[in-house]
């Protein structure tokens, strides 16, 4: 009897506190998962396995979450162009709708970081200078002070950040793709993550103040220009002046 009452109460409580998704939402999600699964089976399963369980050549996708899917596929890193030290950024081959469907399917396999949504107010409130400080403390040692990227060991590299969208930047921080460490919400909270993304976008978009930016690497391209154009040009001038008179 007590058991019956308890069960009944649980049932009532469940209906009271159950997730408030509408039938339509659920239907849409189911539809996305189904479409995503079809895309997955066609484009991804040969490496990642029919159930997303991974294989000899590719990691398991169970629990990686929609953020990882959106990052890898929207930056064109997945599907992989060729095996190598590291997946290269290229034009995405799936549309954003298809990527969302794939993300919904992988998400349905079991949790993981969700694709971040940055609203406009949050973006506008983000502190650019603070983002810069965080960038220099956490990101510059691999991605270079101006986000130009730099090599790691054996052909791996920290990529150039100038093409990364704010969403992709935060996804990378939350999922730690390839050699990149994972920066969870405990280390970099939501507002800080947005500030870092805002700083990266700023240094990527702002025009170089002093003329041509020379790839933002500083001394190496500067030295090259000084020798090729500076010394090269002035030696040509020497020759020209030397040729103006009888040698």
């Amino acid at each position: 009897m007590v058991l019956l009452v308890a069960l009944a109460a649980t049932g009532v409580l469940w209906t009271a506190f159950a997730p408030r998704g509408t039938a339509e939402d659920t239907a849409a999600t189911n539809e996305a998962v189904r479409a995503g699964r079809a895309l997955y089976l066609q484009g991804c399963s040969s490496c990642h396995g029919l159930q997303g369980q991974g294989g000899n050549q590719a990691p398991s996708l169970i629990g990686v979450g929609s953020a990882a899917v959106d990052f890898q596929v929207s930056t064109g890193r997945m599907p992989l162009a060729a095996p190598g030290a590291q997946a290269k950024r290229k034009d995405p081959i799936y549309s954003q709708t298809q990527i969302d469907q794939l993300a919904a399917y992988i998400d349905s396999l079991g949790g993981g970081p969700r694709k971040p949504v940055i609203d406009e107010a949050e973006w506008n409130d983000a502190d650019l200078a603070h983002g810069g400080e965080l960038y220099r403390a956490n990101c510059a040692q691999c991605h270079q002070a101006a986000g130009a990227g730099a090599p790691l060991t054996y052909g791996k590299y920290a990529p150039d950040l100038s093409h990364a969208t704010p969403t992709q930047i935060i996804e990378a921080m939350r999922t730690g793709p390839e050699s990149m460490p994972l920066f969870g919400p405990g280390q970099v909270d939501e507002a800080d993550a947005v500030a870092i993304a805002k700083y990266i976008r700023h240094v990527s978009e702002a025009p170089a103040a002093g003329g041509h930016g020379l790839g933002k690497y500083g001394p190496v391209p500067e030295g090259l220009l000084a020798w090729l154009v500076g010394i090269g040009g002035l030696l040509a001038v020497c020759l020209w002046i030397g040729a103006r008179q009888k040698v």
């Binding site: 730099a150 170089a208 002093g210 500067e222 020497c238």
Partner: protein, 535 residues
């Protein structure tokens, strides 16, 4: 009516003449002025490379003075509140904040900063090219060894001055460089820690390091540079310029143009062109964007941190050197000691004493005023090519991360290629260069002895074919023979035809690199014509 005769016409001296007369009447300057303005300088284009360094230095001083008006060499921490938004509210030193102010809030500040920095790069680069020209033509030989030593001193000081300069803004990149410099100082056995404390006034990063560096950069080193440049030019003036052998040129004369007006006009024009090049670079190409690097913070470091190009070879040697650390007798000698202190010590010492080594080995005690072409001293040219190759490998390795990233090469492969290349390539290049020089010499000799191939094929009665060789025509002197260095030459009258210009430019280059078809057979008696007597 009587006619008054008109007063006799007296030609009044012009203002220049009047000034000259006034100075002469008071200081007796006429003799010295006449002597010096009549000094003759030879015309070869490669003699103008050193001038690039001189003019860059002048521009460095001019732009540097402007920058000192706004730069605040202070370690004091401030909170930035200027117009560069991405750093607003960030804590930084006064030095960094005032450099931002120069870049964003001072009229013409950024372009002056950029011209100053480009001029620094070109200053050291032109010294190096000038040094190579002097080396490969044997211009360092007696009596010019002292000027060679002064030149090496200028080169080293130029590097130091550049390093001190780009370290002043206290940005993340230069702070990283200074941190490395302090580590290098600490790596010296026994005295390292004290050396570092002495230079940085205690533990890194110290409290008042930037003011010290500022004094070094704007007073101490430029003062010494100026004095050495004065000595360098004074000795050149006294000893007179060297020249390549040619018609009318001997060990005892100088053929060329007088200081006034031709040489002065040429040099002033060249100064303007150097200035134009620096303005072009400073106006169009960003250099050292300190705002993009951020303020220095000992906790931060950026990937792909490089020094300016002239320190690059030391960065490269450090990247290539294996991590060998020696411990013993209660001391540690870290790996960084060898590639950053011992290696440059050896390199610059060898560079400085090279003229004396060569004189010793060849037994050549003569004075030389005529230059050699690189092929005439195959071993020296080979050694120079050896040194350049070694330097280039280190230099490229200094930027190996940027190169690896740009060309998609594994960084580890770059490092190993540098390690192998630094050891294997220089001897190969030495051998090939020396061989090439000897072949070119043989070719010259063949032409001198057998004449020039005419392309006329003759068939002999027995059916054999022979090509006719003709003896070389006696060279047509471009200049009349000149007895002394006091006499200037008439300048070229036909230098305006386009074809003539291109042809003569071609000849100017070929005199250096390609065999010269109109070289005389060796005159006897002149020791300069016998290269490397004792090799």
């Amino acid at each position: 009516m009587t006619t008054v005769p008109p007063p006799p016409l007296v030609k009044r001296p012009g203002p220049v003449r009047a000034l000259n007369r006034a100075a002469d009447e008071r200081f007796g300057t006429q003799g010295a002025l006449r002597r010096n303005l009549n000094k003759v300088f030879p015309d070869h284009w490669s003699f103008m490379i050193g001038e690039i360094a001189l003019y860059s230095f002048v521009i460095l001083v001019l732009t540097g003075i402007y920058l000192t008006l706004f730069f605040d060499p202070s370690n004091t921490e401030v909170v930035y509140d200027g117009s560069y938004v991405p750093l607003k509210g960030v804590e930084m030193s006064r030095a960094y904040a005032s450099t931002l102010e120069i870049s964003f809030d001072t009229r013409a500040g950024l372009v002056f900063r950029q011209i100053h920095h480009w001029a620094a790069l070109l200053f050291v680069a032109s010294i190096l090219v000038h040094l190579m020209r002097v080396f490969f033509t044997g211009a360092f030989r007696k009596p010019r060894e002292v000027n060679w030593l002064i030149g090496v001193g200028l080169f080293v000081l130029g590097i130091l001055e550049g390093f001190a300069g780009y370290s002043l803004p206290d940005d993340l990149l230069s702070g990283t460089g200074l941190r490395i410099a302090s580590s290098i100082a600490q790596s010296i056995p026994v005295v390292g820690t004290w050396a570092s404390f002495l230079v940085f006034n205690g533990e890194w990063p110290g409290e008042n390091f930037i003011p010290r560096l500022y004094v070094v950069h704007i007073l101490l080193v430029p003062g010494i540079l100026l004095a050495l440049i004065g000595a360098h030019l004074g000795i050149l003036w006294h000893q007179k310029h060297t020249d390549f052998p040619g018609p009318g040129k001997t060990e005892h004369n100088v053929v060329g143009h007088r200081v006034f007006p031709v040489f002065a006009a040429k040099s002033s024009g060249f100064f303007m062109l150097v200035f134009a090049m620096l303005a072009l670079l400073g106006g169009l190409a960003q250099i050292n964007p300190i705002w993009a690097f951020g303020p220095y913070d000992p906790a931060n470091v950026s990937s792909a941190s490089q020094p300016d190009w002239y320190i690059g070879f030391l960065d490269g040697s450090t990247r290539l050197f294996p991590p060998w650390e020696f411990r013993g007798l209660g001391h540690t000698v870290p790996a960084v000691f060898w590639p950053t202190l011992i290696l440059p010590g050896i390199l610059f010492t060898l560079l400085a004493v090279y003229p004396f080594i060569e004189a010793k080995v060849t037994g050549d005690k003569e004075s030389h005023n005529l230059l050699q072409r690189p092929r005439e001293a195959p071993t020296r040219t080979g050694l120079g090519a050896f040194a350049i190759t070694f330097y280039l490998v280190l230099w490229i390795s200094g930027g190996n991360d940027v190169i690896a990233k740009t060309f998609d090469i594994s960084l580890n492969a770059m490092t190993w290629a540098g390690r192998v290349g630094a050891i294997v390539l220089p001897p190969i290049v030495f051998y090939l260069t020396r061989k090439l020089c000897i072949h070119l010499q043989e070719r010259d000799r063949e032409i001198a002895e057998h004449g020039i191939e005419t392309g006329i094929i003759q068939q002999l009665p027995n059916g054999e074919f022979v090509e006719e060789h003709r003896p070389k025509l006696p060279p047509v002197p471009d200049h009349p023979r000149v007895p002394t260095d006091r006499v200037a030459l008439p300048s070229a009258g036909d230098g305006h035809a386009k074809g003539a210009l291109v042809r003569r430019a071609g000849r100017a280059v070929s005199g250096f690199f390609v065999e010269e078809e109109e070289r005389q057979p060796e005159p006897t008696g002149s020791s300069s014509q016998h290269p490397e007597g004792g090799h």
